[in-house]
């Protein structure tokens, strides 16, 4: 299923989030199961699975990582398994450094600083991926897949920093 066409949007990494939300709400109002409380079992089933798909599609298109992955799969580019490590030695070193920073940060101020620099890295990474995914070439798609994996790491790191902040605040 091509989620971009489900939402009547061009298949591109950069999406108009306002339009995405508008189209989501229109589809929601049309397909929500509550609209079919008195419909036949057939219609109920059909709209339930359509509505479930729409909610999943909205999630996928809202987050840049899953949107990028979905775009690649729409383009017929096969993503290698999750376990595949990023074969970039520099990035591996960088990961270890970030992990050590997180380990060392033990107060809110230090963690907030980490979160801010991580957010900047995420934004830069998103821009880089947007550039790579503009054209649909085999080589750029492959590079984009690598960069998406790195971005996934950054997203995970962000939630780990946040979890540590939460634990201190509790």
């Amino acid at each position: 299923m091509n989620y971009f066409s489900l939402f009547n949007l061009p298949a591109a990494f950069t999406v108009d989030l306002v339009q995405l939300k508008q189209h989501y709400q229109t589809l929601q109002k049309m397909t929500h199961p509550d609209r079919f409380a008195n419909a036949s079992e057939q219609e109920k089933r059909m709209y339930l699975s359509k509505n479930a798909q729409i909610n999943d599609a909205y999630q996928v298109l809202t987050s840049p990582v899953s949107r990028g992955e979905h775009l690649l799969s729409v383009r017929g580019f096969t993503l290698v398994g999750e376990q595949e490590t990023v074969g970039d030695v520099n990035f591996l070193m960088q990961q270890m450094e970030w992990r050590e920073d997180l380990e060392a940060a033990n107060d809110i101020a230090a963690l907030d600083a980490l979160l801010a620099s991580n957010a900047a890295n995420l934004a830069a990474q998103e821009e880089k991926i947007a550039g790579l995914l503009k054209a649909d070439t085999e080589q750029d798609n492959a590079s984009a897949a690598d960069e998406l994996r790195k971005m996934k790491f950054l997203v995970k790191l962000a939630s780990e920093i946040q979890a540590k902040i939460d634990a201190i605040e509790e």
Binding site: Q22, D34, A52
Partner: protein, 624 residues
């Protein structure tokens, strides 16, 4: 310019066909039923003008007694007077006794889920809850003078799959058609939101007898969007009673055995003290206790300050959960426009002041906190039965707890994270690890923790009928679908062969479908003939509904979306259905309807896709 109102097919219910939808708040301590009458939603009272129905059921060999009488005589027969049965729903016996201990009931030994031994036989929490629901249904039909079409039943937002399924099963047992399970905080927001046309962010703080819930919602042009939800399904006003009861017991120096013998009396005294301290700063009373087989009178007293101290930790726990919910919703404290207070326990002064202090705002209490959930449910029920076809209201609820599956090493891999808007479907691929493997087990869990043992086991699926292939060659796509009630459904397919893998569901808690059928059958044994007549009538009504809907769909899109052959096949199935409906065989009508359904499935899907495309195309034009 005059605008013509064009009714959607199937929505043009004639005025005399007004249907009755009821809202039910199935509470831990008290339950309520509501309905919309002359445009207003009100809770329905019994003959003595009492709106609440205590969620207490007393079983004797002669009768099943629900409500005030059962509650007020609970001291006389505590063993057979089941209170707060909601706490047992979808739980193991161990869950319940480890948390509340000292329960006066007798349980069937050795069974994992709690089964009460009563003079009416062994009963499970679903059956006991169904007795409460039946009492509410009877009240509604007596009060409205009409048969109930369907019900919206509220559940704590934090209820997991097993607890929701149990609630739905209980409704099924009492003969109620469930239009929707609605989260209690969402129901409360409906009650307030529609009255005051509120727009913006709203926090619903719901502290009932046995559960605590908080939800953060965004209201915008009739769309209620739940942003996040949190809570504790084992924290409520009963815990306040318990704290006071413990305080009384220790101030009287009661032994553990004496405490157990007087459990219900102490709890009742605790409850009375809590309620009195809503408007007073001191409370004293005399209590009769059973000590060494003799009734002994004792004096008890507690001040508001002492009470506040006893419950401070519990109240603080609720504001911590509020903080978490705000964070999950990605909103800040000062963005919240209003705080709706729900549940009888929000009458406790410390709760009001602490919550108000936490949000730094006055809290809303204008609708009776005991009734607000039921009123919201009644409004939603009225819409869902079809009495307000032009209503713009839409509720977007979220999954309260993450769903995941067991992976290697006893870890849980999340498949659908909590706070995802529902309904939602996610597919996950599995592969075989042995040559020729034709079956595999999938263990589904719900919760936020990483280890299997820390999450709630929902079900174990065995996938069978996988075509034998080399290891890793079979790809089984398992789809987890959560419906609008928050209930999980699983389907599986082997990708390369397209073989539908069979799924056997073993619910870890709750009831198997066959158990429900058995219970249903035994409850209608006497009314068998009634049932048959009723089923025939139902099938005939369904057939004419299908005919009407198909005719209007065919008139609209038949030429455009169907080939002449497809059209002919559908027409023939309709003729066959009309013929069957004239005969007196409910089964034959059902089969004919199914045939129409099957033949028209592709047509229905094409119509849906067409209308979706049109809606979005219309949008694009609007945007320009």
């Amino acid at each position: 310019m005059a605008l013509l109102q064009i009714a959607e097919p199937g929505q043009s219910a004639a005025p005399h066909e007004r249907k009755i939808g009821i809202g039910i708040d199935l509470g831990t301590t008290n339950s309520l039923v509501s309905a919309v009458r002359s445009g207003q939603c009100t809770t329905l009272a019994d003959e003595q003008q009492r709106h609440l129905l205590p969620s207490v059921v007393h079983y004797s060999s002669e009768s099943i007694d629900v409500g005030y009488h059962a509650r007020d005589n609970s001291n006389a027969d505590p063993k057979n007077t089941i209170m707060s049965v909601k706490r047992f729903m979808g739980r193991t016996l161990k869950d319940v006794t480890s948390h509340w201990g000292n329960l006066p009931y007798e349980f069937v030994e050795g069974s994992e889920s709690p089964r009460f031994v009563t003079p009416q036989g062994e009963l499970n929490p679903v059956q006991i809850s169904s007795h409460i629901l039946t009492a509410l249904k009877v009240r509604a039909e007596a009060s409205l003078g009409e048969e109930v079409t369907g019900a919206v039943i509220t559940v704590p937002a934090y209820f997991d799959d097993a607890q929701r399924q149990g609630t739905k099963d209980a409704a099924k047992l009492s003969g109620l058609k469930v239009l929707r399970l609605l989260n209690e905080p969402t129901a409360a927001a409906i009650a307030y939101g529609l009255d005051s046309q509120e727009e913006g962010l709203i926090a619903v703080y719901d502290l009932g007898g046995g559960t605590f819930d908080v939800s953060i919602l965004r209201l915008n042009k009739g769309v209620f969007e739940v942003l996040s939800t949190g809570g504790d399904s084992a924290l409520g006003g009963d815990d306040f009673d318990h704290k006071i009861a413990q305080y009384f017991a220790s101030s009287l120096g009661l032994s553990e055995q004496e405490q157990r013998h007087n459990h219900r009396r102490l709890m009742n005294a605790g409850k009375a003290a809590k309620e009195a301290l809503t408007d007073n700063t001191d409370y004293t009373c005399q209590i009769s206790l059973l000590i060494d087989n003799e009734e002994v009178n004792k004096n008890l007293s507690i001040s508001l300050a002492q009470f506040n101290e006893l419950i401070a930790d519990l109240v603080h726990k609720t504001t911590r959960i509020c903080k978490r919910a705000l964070k999950d919703a990605e909103v800040s404290l000062d963005e919240v426009n209003s705080i709706v207070m729900v549940g009888g326990s929000t009458r406790v002064p410390l709760v009001r002041t602490e919550v108000s202090a936490f949000f730094n705002k006055e809290v809303l209490t204008s609708i009776d906190p005991d009734k607000v959930v039921a009123i919201g449910a009644g409004i939603q029920a009225d819409i869902l039965v079809g009495n307000k076809p032009d209503s713009d209201m839409l509720l977007l609820d979220v999954l309260p707890l993450s769903l995941g599956i067991e992976t290697m090493g006893g870890l849980v891999e999340k498949i659908i994270p909590r706070n995802t808007t529902i309904p939602v479907a996610k597919a996950q691929e599995f592969t075989t690890f042995k040559d020729g493997q034709t079956a595999m087990m999938v263990h589904v869990l719900q919760g936020e923790r990483e280890l299997v043992e820390d999450c709630r086991s929902l079900a174990k699926f065995s996938l069978s009928g996988i075509p034998p292939m080399t290891a890793g060659a079979a790809h089984i796509r398992v789809t987890f679908q959560v419906d609008a009630d928050g209930l999980l459904n699983v389907t599986a397919m082997e990708k390369s062969s397209g073989v539908q893998a069979e799924i056997q569901v073993k619910p870890s808690y709750g009831l198997e479908e066959s158990e429900i059928l058995n219970m249903l059958q035994s409850s209608v044994q006497n009314a068998k003939q009634d049932m048959q007549a009723r089923m025939l009538k139902e099938q005939q009504v369904e057939a004419s509904r299908v005919l009407e809907a198909m005719q209007s769909a065919l008139a609209e899109d038949g030429d455009e979306l169907l080939s002449p052959e497809e059209r002919k096949a559908i027409d023939n199935s309709l003729f066959a259905m009309v013929d069957a409906a004239k005969m007196g065989d409910a089964d034959a009508i059902k089969k004919a309807i199914e045939a129409v359904d099957k033949l028209s499935q592709a047509f229905a899907a094409r119509r849906m896709d067409k209308s979706i495309q049109q809606a979005l195309a219309g949008h694009s034009v609007d945007d320009i």
